[in-house]
Amino acid sequence: MTDLRVRIGTLTLENPVMPASGTFAEGLAQVADLNRLGALVTKTITRELRDGNPLPRVAETQDGMLNAIGIPSKGVPYFLEHTLPEMARWTPPLVVSISAPTIEGFADLAAAMTVPGVAAIEANISCPNIEEDGRAFAMTAGSTAAAVRAIRGATRLPVWAKLTPNTGDIADVAQAAEAEGADALVVANTILGMAIDLATFRPKLGNVMGGLSGPAIKPIVLRQVYQCARRVRVPVIGCGGISTAEDAAEYMLAGAAAVQVGTATFLHPTAMLAIIDGLAAFCAARNMRGVAELTGAMLREEADEAEVEWLGQP
């Protein structure tokens, strides 16, 4: 039997597979056993009451989808009275995803979520859909540092910073988050994109722009996980187009300690369970005792300079 447990800072997860924020709610229990997941991650909540973006909120693309849901949120009291007790009925650790328009708002909400039943806070400093042109704290190392510092100071819970793939240098951002006390990094949120309906000349999303997810983005985010994991010591949680155990294994080889699965669940609601079983089989077939051995195990042969030196000779 493969040991599927992984450590994310002080938390030990029964396996490395969890839902991506925004793609999971209690409705999944109609189809899948949530107690088999490594962790549960809530849809992002805000203190502000939010209706979300105008419709349409999703659009299909080649091997993926665009979404501009816009974080509908019923606020903190509703979350504490309804969502939290509902989620607390399941055994996996509960990770609460939070967002706020300001750094002070992030700190305030992190403090409000520091309650029994919450195992960690995922700071969604990267949603492309709530600020103009996809602006988010995680776009720059400076604003990431300021946000993570404030959240770190407001809670004793582990803080996971969810980064954006829409930045020029994600490794710099990752390093800034780690330096300010993030316990783990989630790499990454969706890639800002858009689509236009050629029959109507209208944008396919009510918000015009939205986040691209699904298999189409996997190579890009895999590269970003690799870049981040090389630069930081805290665990990196890979998230981007993972549909199969093979995708998850690839992310772990690139440096991820765990993975989040989102869009794949929309197509196959038991995708996460299949990925857990598939990872166990993947490791067993290679005589690996634990799935954690995969993390960062990509082999990269350094070119032997002595042997290739002659190529440069005239």
Partner: protein, 290 residues
Amino acid sequence: MTLPDATAPAPHADDDASLPPAARHTGAAAEQTATVIANAAVNAEYRHLVLHAAPPATGAAPGQFFQLLCPAPPGAAPFLRRPMSVYAADPAAREVAFLYKVAGAGTLGLAGLRPGEALDILGPLGRGFALDPAWRSIVAVGRGAGLATLGPLAQAARARGIGVTAVLSARRPDLVVSDALFRACGADVLAITDAEGTSGPIHVERLLRRLIAERRCDAFFTCGSARLLAVQQRLAREFGLPGQVALEQQMACGLGMCFCCVREFNVGGAVVHKRVCWDGPVFDIAEAMA
């Protein structure tokens, strides 16, 4: 054809009050590979897809829906599943059926399915119609694909001894679907069409007022037309009648997770967003906003 149970409680609890202390996977819905038994045209626009399937799919209630992973037709690649309301569910025969019109890449892919081929279905999903055993007679008003959604309701009503008057609206008489199913259930069928000039709101209102006067309308059930919904909402308010409407919306997950299928509802004077896939697709007619 076995009757779906329209009085069974919805597969998910309304709110948190009745939650058990420890949670379990409910199995109310499942993804499964069904096999195509038949997939033939019923008129110039609609096709009837019959699948061999297993529970829980075969226990689908009227008004519930499935998320179908449609095969890709040539030149297109539907990425997401397509929601489709159930037209028939038969646990004894292990069958589920759908009535659909080719409207895009997903349904075009469905149209190419041949008997013996496989289709990945997820369901049954959502909250279906609810029938009050105290009712003696109901009126079902539908148009287009909405007629398919209302079809199984007629069967469930008959099983409870509730009479049904079906007002079926279409562009032309040859495009009326579900009428045979309604008639087989003993329903009184009134077909109204654009071609005959009988489908306009004024005519429909006159017709519904007559049914109310004849005490044949203890409740309205409707699907497929915002215009017809508005007429029934007005009459329901005027005569204090209950009603239910099955609504459609673009969906991604079908399980209440992604919040892409929200619509606006008037709940006690306040406009609130509800998820069609999870809070519906059947809603109180008084709350729906056309």
